[in-house]
């Protein structure tokens, strides 16, 4: 079990009225890194892995859920305090919270993935020409289609969608997008899984079709590039969201305001794609970070 977390007072945010309580779903090093990043921004936070221990504390509070497991626990706990979901994808957030609670004013989120707009901006910057973008969607992510279409239009990109059934043979479904110059990946567990991701990469690579994805790990695994929000980016936006909540306004769930770019140079070289420094510097950084 996660133990007690120190709560040193920080003069920078001493004015906050609500206590920030961070619920973790596990005790992994990644989670600890996230807590430490949050503590940098919110020094008085209380962190723990047991919701009962946190809920016994008195006084106004804002709960931060790190990851889907923590979010699921807070939702199930039926707390009345505001909840901010962090490090959970939009698909997972909506699966956990549901449409009814999502509409409530007390649960909000900063999604784990960069917004479709940021992803298409990155894509457009890489190719710097009108290219055809293929996107695989399932029923759970079909709601992204209008947003993606709008942004693509704004960026002068051609976009084509192919909706598939979840957990089908994605490699064979990719044959429907052979006309696309580049594949845009959006978080969807019905499409991307550890078992088929390598085959997807191999299939697209054989066709000379780069993939722009949504996490650093996917870039390392073989995608061309990704627009993503780092832990520090999310922590900075979380502190801002807590301030908003303290001010009496719970913002709606949203994509990270801060983001940056990851590039796999080997893939780029293999596909003969040149990615300039301006592309690598794309994104928004919180104040005080690089």
């Amino acid at each position: 079990m996660l133990g007690a977390i120190a709560t040193p007072l920080s003069p920078t945010l001493a004015l906050a009225a609500s206590e920030v309580r961070v619920l973790t779903g596990d005790n992994s090093s990644a989670t600890q890194r996230a807590v430490e990043a949050l503590r940098t921004r919110l020094p008085r936070l209380m962190a723990g892995s047991e919701i009962e221990a946190l809920s016994r504390r008195t006084g106004p509070a804002v709960y931060l859920a790190i990851g889907p497991a923590a979010l699921r626990a807070l939702v199930a706990g039926g707390l009345r305090a505001p909840v901010v979901s962090l490090f959970t994808s939009s698909q997972a957030f909506h699966q956990i919270v549901g449409s009814a609670l999502a509409a409530s004013s007390r649960i909000t989120a900063i999604y784990a993935e960069a917004s479709p707009e940021h992803q298409l901006r990155l894509l457009s910057s890489i190719f710097q020409r009108r290219v055809s973008v293929g996107v695989l969607l399932t029923a759970e992510t079909a709601h992204l289609e209008p947003l993606l279409t709008q942004v693509a239009r704004e960026l002068d990109l051609e976009i084509q969608f192919h909706q598939v059934r979840a957990n089908t043979n994605i490699v064979r479904e990719l044959n429907r997008l052979t006309a696309a110059d580049v594949l845009l990946a959006v978080p969807d567990t019905g499409i991307f899984s550890p078992d088929n991701f390598r085959d997807i990469l191999e299939s697209t690579y054989r066709r000379g079709q780069p993939v722009v994805c949504y996490s650093q790990g996917m870039v390392t695994a073989g995608c061309l590039a990704a627009a993503y929000a780092s832990v520090e980016d999310i922590a900075a936006q979380a502190a801002e969201t807590v301030a908003e909540v303290d001010a009496g306004h719970v913002p709606p769930p949203r994509y990270p305001a801060y983001w940056r770019v990851a590039v796999n140079d080997s893939v780029a070289r293999s596909l003969n794609i040149v990615i300039g420094e301006d592309v690598r510097r794309l994104g928004e950084r919180p104040t005080g970070t690089r």
């Binding site: 992994s28 790190i66 784990a112 550890p194 088929n196 390598r198």
Partner: protein, 496 residues
């Protein structure tokens, strides 16, 4: 009788059989090694091909690109003649693509599962926090998606290596022939000396020890030849020695037989002589009795009758006195005659005086009757009194010896000695003289001597007749003696 193969046959066998066996073993070994190599090679190729195929066909199965898979399999079939067939199967082992034969037909089958390759990248697919996962993706084995199956036939590989196998076999055969030839050549060098050795051994077996072997052999063979010659020489010497011993023993045996025969002759002669003596003695005693006793008794009878035939008248006193005196003299003469006869039959003195004094009396009588020779008796103080049978034996032997001295020796001095050996276990009775000694055979083969020998032998003693150192003869008799056999104390005489 010779049994089994000859040395030549054995040597030929020794020279050729190892080469033949070597040829068989090496050929079999080469064949087995080659077959093993082919099987190992096929095994290795099959496993490798199945593994490569499993890896290479993964994407074809996932993408469903069967024509590409089929083309890949056909291409693989052309790379190795040992590949009899290749199949790509789905999870239920139904063929997806295949090339070559699907029948086993003695081919070795290699199968390997085809599994997907999973990547644990940050796909936002788990309940762990999204977007903060490890940047380094982890690869792991994915789910089973099918099987690769390869059928490998060893026949093409064996066919390719058969020529090499044949050449290796020919090389081994040539080596075996060369080895056998060399063995035969070496055998030929050994065969003649060994044949000579065998001939020599057969000669020795047949008793001919005068064998000759050329000592031209080297090393142990030469040593063997030399040993056989030496052995034959030693056998010849041993045989000669044995024959000499046999001849010597045969001569000894013949001498013993002759001695037995001589003894038998002596006994026969002795028996005849004794019988004659007994007849003479009986005749003499009869004559004595007739001439002396009968005549005297008749004279007494006549004298007595003359006294009674006077018609009742008493004879005159002078006549009676005269008759009584005649009768007294006649009876005295009869007594003397009877005593002489008894004395001839058994020395009375022996019973009355004992052996020592009887001999003393005998020696004294000889000394009186033969003044030209001095007779003496030397008796050791510890000489015991002998029991009767032994005493009469000693008495008769001494009597015969002294008789011979008188008859033949022409001696001037004769000594009878009675003594005991130092250990007290033997009596020694010796009669020695300084006469002319044993001139002829009568001294040792006469009837008297035979009698002495027989008497000695009957008493368990030994008799030796040897020349005296100072001239003359020594008759020496030894009897075994047990002190418990003594007849009594004192001088040995018995009361008259």
């Amino acid at each position: 009788m010779r049994r089994g193969p000859s040395i030549t046959a054995l040597l030929i066998g020794i020279a050729t059989l190892p080469a033949f066996v070597m040829f068989l073993v090496v050929s079999a070994s080469i064949y087995a090694t080659r077959v093993g190599e082919v099987r190992a090679d096929i095994d290795e190729r099959g496993r490798l091909l199945a593994a490569v195929l499993a890896d290479g066909s993964r994407y074809g199965i996932v993408s469903g690109n069967v024509p590409a898979l089929q083309e890949t399999l056909r291409g693989l079939m052309t790379t190795d003649a040992s590949i009899a067939g290749i199949e790509i199967l789905d999870v239920q082992r139904r063929p997806i693509a295949s090339a070559g034969t699907a029948a086993n037909g003695g081919a070795l089958v290699f199968e390997r599962p085809i599994k997907g390759l999973a990547i644990d990248a940050d796909l936002f697919d788990s309940s762990a926090p999204h977007g903060i996962g490890d940047e380094r993706p982890k690869f792991r084995e994915g789910p089973l998606i099918g099987y690769s199956r390869v059928r490998m036939s060893p026949e093409p590989l064996m066919k390719a290596r058969r020529t090499g196998l044949l050449i290796a076999g020919l090389i081994v055969l040539v080596a075996a022939v060369l080895s056998a030839t060399l063995g035969l050549w070496l055998t030929q060098r050994v065969r003649r000396p060994l044949g000579d050795v065998m001939s020599a051994l057969r000669s020795i077996q047949q008793g001919d020890y005068a064998v000759q072997l050329p000592r031209d052999g080297q090393g142990e063979l030469g040593e063997l030849q030399g040993a056989i010659v030496d052995m034959a020489r030693e056998l010849a010497a041993a045989r000669q020695e044995l024959e000499a011993k046999v001849a010597e023993r045969t001569a000894q045996l013949e001498e013993a037989v002759q001695a037995v025969r001589a003894a038998d002759d002596e006994k026969r002669r002795l028996i005849v002589h004794v019988n004659a003596l007994m007849e003479d003695e009986r005749r003499r005693i009869a004559a004595e009795i007739h001439d002396q006793l009968n005549a005297s008794l008749l004279a007494v009878r006549l004298t007595a009758a003359s006294l009674r035939s006077r018609d009742g008248a008493s004879p005159p006193a002078e006549e009676v006195d005269e008759a009584a005196e005649r009768i007294d003299k006649t009876v005295e003469a009869v007594y003397v005659s009877a005593r002489r006869i008894v004395k001839m039959l058994r020395p009375e003195v022996l019973d009355t005086l004992g052996l020592r004094k009887a001999l003393d009396e005998m020696v004294r009588q000889y000394d009186e009757m033969h003044p030209t020779c001095r007779f003496r008796l030397l008796c050791a103080p510890d000489f015991p009194q002998l029991p009767d049978p032994l005493a009469i034996t000693v008495y008769r032997i001494v009597q015969e010896a002294l008789s011979n001295v008188v008859k033949h020796a022409q001696a001037t001095d004769a000594v009878v000695s009675l003594s005991m050996e130092e250990d007290g276990r033997r009596l020694v009775v010796a009669v020695s003289d300084n006469g002319r000694g044993m001139g002829g055979g009568s001294a040792t083969s006469g009837i008297g001597v035979i009698g002495m020998r027989e008497r000695t032998r009957a008493a368990g003693g030994t008799l030796e007749i040897t020349p005296n150192a100072s001239g003359g003869t020594v008759v020496e008799v030894r009897f075994p003696w047990n002190p418990g056999d003594a007849a009594g104390e004192g001088d040995g005489s018995t009361p008259a």
